[in-house]
Amino acid sequence: MACPPAAQSPTARQPSVKVILASADVQRVVDRIAHQILEKTQGAADTVLLGIPTRGAPLARRLAARISTFEDVTVPVGVLDITLYRDDLRRQATRAVGPTQLPPGGIDGKRVILVDDVLFSGRTVRAALDALNDVGRPASVQLAVLVDRGHRELPIRADYVGKNIPTALAESVKVTLAETDGTDGVKLYGGTSS
């Protein structure tokens, strides 16, 4: 799930920007999650990585690439679009629907690892679990996130966390990836405090 847009007004006090992870750090964190997945899933057998758009999709591909580098196993990767399963559909203008691409082998009976950039309220993950329910029946579902910023509104937790960031609600966390934004990085935008 993306984070709420940083309220930036050029005339107001400059919002503080704090770099949480620089480009090289992001790569290290992805490597660590890949190792943890291999460790926890006994070599990533019968495992499928499903990225949640937008930034979960490239993250899932990166994890699969790192896993195959470390252990020489190929983990199927897919994309799970959750737009039509969101609980806030009706609160905003109609959202564009993105593609859902399941790997050719499907997800029935597999261990599915959902991949997203930021874990915040947990509502995106709930939507993803609902969407998953309609496309197949995995043996189990796990969750991998690059950043966990807290403030859960639902009883959801991640199995693999790249970095825990204690945040205030007014702050926002922005993940950028080379594939979608040009550069890798995680930044924390302060609320109104200077």
Binding site: Y85, V97, P99, V135, G136
Partner: protein
Amino acid sequence: MIRHLLSGADLDAATATRILDTAAEMATVAGREVKKLPALRGRTVVNLFYEDSTRTRISFEAAAKRLSADVINFSAKGSSVAKGESLKDTALTLQAMGADAVVVRHPASGAAHRLAEWVDGSVVNAGDGTHEHPTQALLDAYTMRARLGRLAGLSVAVVGDVLHSRVARSNVLLLSTLGAKVTLVGPPTLIPVDIAGALAPGTDVCYDLDAVLPASDVVMMLRVQRERMGDSYFPSAREYARRYGLDGPRMRRLPEHAIVMHPGPMNRGMEITPEVADSPRSTIVEQVANGVSVRMAVLYLLLGGNNA
């Protein structure tokens, strides 16, 4: 986002493309075990049909149900109430029942536009008289794009009873918006004077089917309505079939990649021969399947957000 879909002209290129793209995603649902999405849960869609229709009504019903909307079918067949008043009263009834969208088919041109003034919800025109049928144009555009990979620059021949065809009108409007070039083909009695200029400048009219075929990427045959056959628009059904029917030899004059479309229901042997209708170039069955996906996309884009 637009609130109603009444005409092919309601859609600009960006919105139309968005509907087609969304429809492509909706189409993947048809291949799943659970053919249902929760996007319109708790919304009510009323199918208000004052005219007989099989595929359009079922298609809208399937589309709404796949998006988890509640569907109420209202068939006014045989209703003897005066048209104008009954439509308004019906509209107010639907309003009172809390319909979020009304899909309307009516024999009077402009009925959907009137209805849109009376109800708070969205109105989707599923065919009004001889006027428009925009979701048919969208599913035709979707089918062309799926088969030929693009819409811009395509040469599309629309052949037959253009005068009475709402499919033709909506297609001319939508396809021109999306960059295709439409040529209307038929006997002069069935092509209104200056229809091309009135609908979309750049549209051509030609009275000779054989001259148009070699340069067409798409040939869309229109149904010759039985009730018109006795109206002396053309001397006889056989003469019409000879001059404007698509048969095997004519089909072979089309370019290699060209496709043949028909909105259905067909009069086999009249405007299209069975050889053509059942050939691999024919997209007639695909059009029906695509109809559900396109209508899902339309309902989602009209009702999915808070744009009411």
